[in-house]
């Protein structure tokens, strides 16, 4: 049995806890022992990507310290997992000891879908979700972690789920962290384009493994009063057929 140390990104912790709860349910159902080290806070991505590397380094050090002994660190966010796995090493300032610590942790950090499919070799997690779903390739999952097929493999095994491909699935949704509020007109134009592609695919839900994209795409869909909604992959995989109940209606 694998012991999983769960990393819950700060804004999932505070604003979208159901994503973390769903990840716990799926991992436990898959037979993992899930731990949540409470000393964790933020991986430092906002500081790193806005150019505040000193602050990012301090948070990265905390992350490495908290998870140093973990067998596997699993995170339901592609961009946070990518920060820990790929960006930490850049914050080295010529410090070899840090580079070693960051490199030692990196291969044990997994994004949620990647952990299920690559590490546990699991694609059927016993989920039931009778809806038409489009998968959005979140940029950091796709390009930093090379995760393209894993989420789709998981979705294909979900009972009742119809997986549809929208147009331009690999085009950025326009969130981009601080970019979303620093240049809101450009960010929103990209969000509207993504939302239009979801709608054209006649999907009821758009999903991915990055909560920040979902906050953005879901926010655009809601503002446009669109039929489609955004949902995290973990929440789909956590959905089950309740014995004797009508089909799940989220």
């Amino acid at each position: 049995m694998i012991r999983v140390a769960l990393f819950i990104p700060c804004f999932v912790d505070q604003l979208a806890p159901t994503i973390g709860q769903a990840a716990v349910r799926v991992l436990e159902r898959a037979g993992c022992t899930v731990e949540f080290p409470e000393a964790q806070t933020c991986c430092g991505q906002p500081a790193f990507s806005t150019g505040h590397w000193r602050e990012a380094r301090a948070l990265a050090e905390r992350f490495v310290r908290v998870f140093a002994a973990a067998e596997a660190v699993v995170c339901p966010s592609g961009s946070c997992a990518a920060t820990a796995r790929r960006a930490f090493a850049l914050l080295d300032d010529g410090d070899a000891a840090w580079r070693r610590d960051a490199a030692a942790l990196a291969p044990r950090v997994f994004e949620f879908s990647e952990f299920l499919v690559r590490r546990l070799r699991l694609t059927d997690v016993g989920a039931f979700f009778p809806h038409r779903v489009a998968y959005h390739d979140a940029c950091h999952l796709l390009r930093e972690l090379g995760v393209r097929d894993e989420p789709r493999q998981l979705l294909r095994e979900v009972r009742g789920l119809e997986l549809v491909e929208m147009e331009e699935p690999e085009e950025c949704c326009g969130f981009g962290g601080a970019f979303a509020v620093a240049l809101p007109a450009i960010s929103a134009a990209l969000g509207r384009r993504k939302a239009a592609n979801v709608e054209r695919a006649q999907a009821e839900f758009v999903t991915t493994g990055d909560p920040s994209c979902l906050l953005h795409i879901g926010g655009v869909l809601a503002r446009q009063r669109a039929r489609a909604r955004a949902i995290h992959l973990a929440e789909i995989l956590a959905a089950e057929r309740r014995p004797g109940a009508a089909p799940a209606r989220p």
Partner: protein, 477 residues
């Protein structure tokens, strides 16, 4: 600051024009599909990229020796090589050559370096009529605007707009708006220029060190005319364009064509080594190569960013960039636009003036994925952000917010209390009217996007409750 404000305004204006974006994307998607097809013709595109990266790294590692070798070979054939440290030095040298030959008319082929040094305005100011002969560049010159895209300068224009322009500027007959008729009108206007010009100016795609050759890639044949018809030919190029050996073109010609326009190979590829030789019947009497530094040797010395000099100006990063798709090239207000522009411009034109461009990115990484020479583009954007923060940008609101967040997150208890306060504030805000309106403090987010209701309980509160009372969980599995 001013350049940044202009950029924000131009970007927001372009972002609001969905029809224009559709037009732009349709054009860029055409290159995208063609590029994907061209990449598939490679037995191993990924290996080709690796090799390109290696060759350019080698060229840059020994750039000094390679450039001297190049110079030696060109000089041996009777050519001149001028090392221009600054844009002004390049302009002055070329003006001097033109004056010495009493040139009144100059023909030019496409060169982004000539845009970088503002060559045409300098020639025009000296009374030398300068005509762009690449069709796209010819069109934007008639419109008195800079190129929209580094490879396809007039891609933002519809055929009808070009027809109207040609009618107005060239006296083309009304209704002549087929591609053939428009190309014919430009050709007729340019033919006399080609024949009359005393001096031709071209760029260079590659400088071949070992053989001392300038490689020029084009689709229209105009660069060939610029380099062979007039008495004087001047090549203006960045000093980073070196390839060690002639054989390297076997890789770089198809890679440039595939990544840029999606062609198997570009229509015309010329190799020029100097002025007309005694046994030759064609070619210029005088041949000059101007090697422009303009900040490039500082980049060469910058270990972190040296790979930026490997850029072959194929435009692939622009073609895949979601921000470029949304705002187009002119909004950047810079010679080089798109991801490579945001990376390069602060190095060439100053961090103060162009540092803001690095922040105009969602960091999606599509540029890095598309780059045929594997420049670490999106991480360079973050490095430019780091440098802009260090140079004073960190004193802005965003900097304070990030530092405050980092301080809170340095301690789990502090972080947790701050999270609870934040959620409470967001709940209070929801009862206020006018989400997304002028008075909404979260308007930058909420103007276009709803914000979901904050949960009463954070994940860690839930976790603590659950571990305190474990038996109820997932009873049915």
């Amino acid at each position: 600051m001013n350049a940044e404000r202009q950029f924000r305004r131009a970007g927001a204006r372009a972002a609001a024009d969905a029809a224009r974006q559709d037009f732009l994307r349709a054009g860029l998607a055409g290159y995208g599909h063609a590029a994907a097809g061209a990449r598939r013709r490679f037995a191993d595109w990924s290996a080709a990229r690796d090799r390109c990266q290696e060759v350019k790294a080698e060229a840059l590692a020994h750039l000094d020796a390679y450039l001297l070798r190049f110079e030696e070979r060109v000089v041996a054939r009777g050519g001149h090589v001028f090392w221009a440290e600054t844009a002004a030095a390049a302009r002055d040298y070329i003006l001097g050559v033109a004056r010495r030959h009493g040139a009144r008319r100059v023909i030019k082929s496409k060169s982004m370096v000539s845009e970088e040094v503002r060559l045409t305005p300098a020639l025009e100011a000296a009374g030398i009529a300068t005509v762009e002969t690449d069709l796209g560049e010819f069109i934007v010159q008639l419109r008195r605007e800079p190129p929209f895209h580094i490879v396809t300068p007039a891609m933002h224009l519809r055929r009808g707009e070009i027809a109207a322009l040609f009618q107005r500027e060239l006296g083309a007959p009304p209704g002549a708006d087929s591609a053939e008729e428009l190309a014919g009108a430009a050709r007729r206007a340019l033919r006399d220029q080609f024949l009359a010009a005393e001096m031709g100016i071209t760029g260079a795609n590659f400088l071949i060190a070992e053989e001392g050759l300038v490689a020029i890639t084009e689709n229209e044949g105009n660069a060939r005319l610029c380099s062979s018809l007039p008495r004087v030919h001047v090549v203006l190029t960045g000093l980073e364009k070196v390839l060690p050996r002639l054989a390297d073109l076997g890789l770089f010609w198809p890679v440039l064509a595939a990544a840029g326009t999606g062609q198997p190979i570009t229509c015309y590829n010329s190799l020029i080594g100097g002025p007309r030789q005694p046994e030759e019947r064609d070619g210029p009497e005088e041949f000059h190569v101007v090697l422009l530094d303009n900040g490039r040797s500082a980049l060469l010395a910058d270990r972190e960013r040296r790979d930026t000099l490997a850029c072959i100006r194929c435009g692939a990063c622009l073609n895949v960039c979601p921000v470029f798709h949304t705002i187009g090239g002119h909004a950047y207000g810079a010679t080089y636009s798109g991801p490579i522009g945001a990376v390069l411009m602060p190095q060439l034109g100053g961090l103060e003036r162009f540092g803001h461009l690095a922040f105009a990115s969602s960091l999606c990484g599509a540029c890095t994925e598309a780059c045929p020479v594997k420049i670490d583009l999106h991480r360079h954007l973050i490095r430019n952000r780091r440098d802009a923060v260090a140079a004073g940008r960190g004193r802005r609101r965003e900097g304070w917010a990030v530092r405050a967040w980092a301080w809170l997150a340095a301690d789990p208890r502090r972080y947790q209390r701050a999270g609870a306060v934040l959620r409470r504030l967001l709940r209070v805000r929801r009862v206020l009217p006018g989400e997304g309106g002028m008075l909404d403090p979260l308007r930058p987010w909420t103007r276009a996007r709803a914000l979901p209701a904050p949960p009463a309980e954070s994940f860690r509160e839930w976790w603590r409750r659950r571990t305190a009372a474990p038996p109820a969980r997932d009873s049915h599995d």
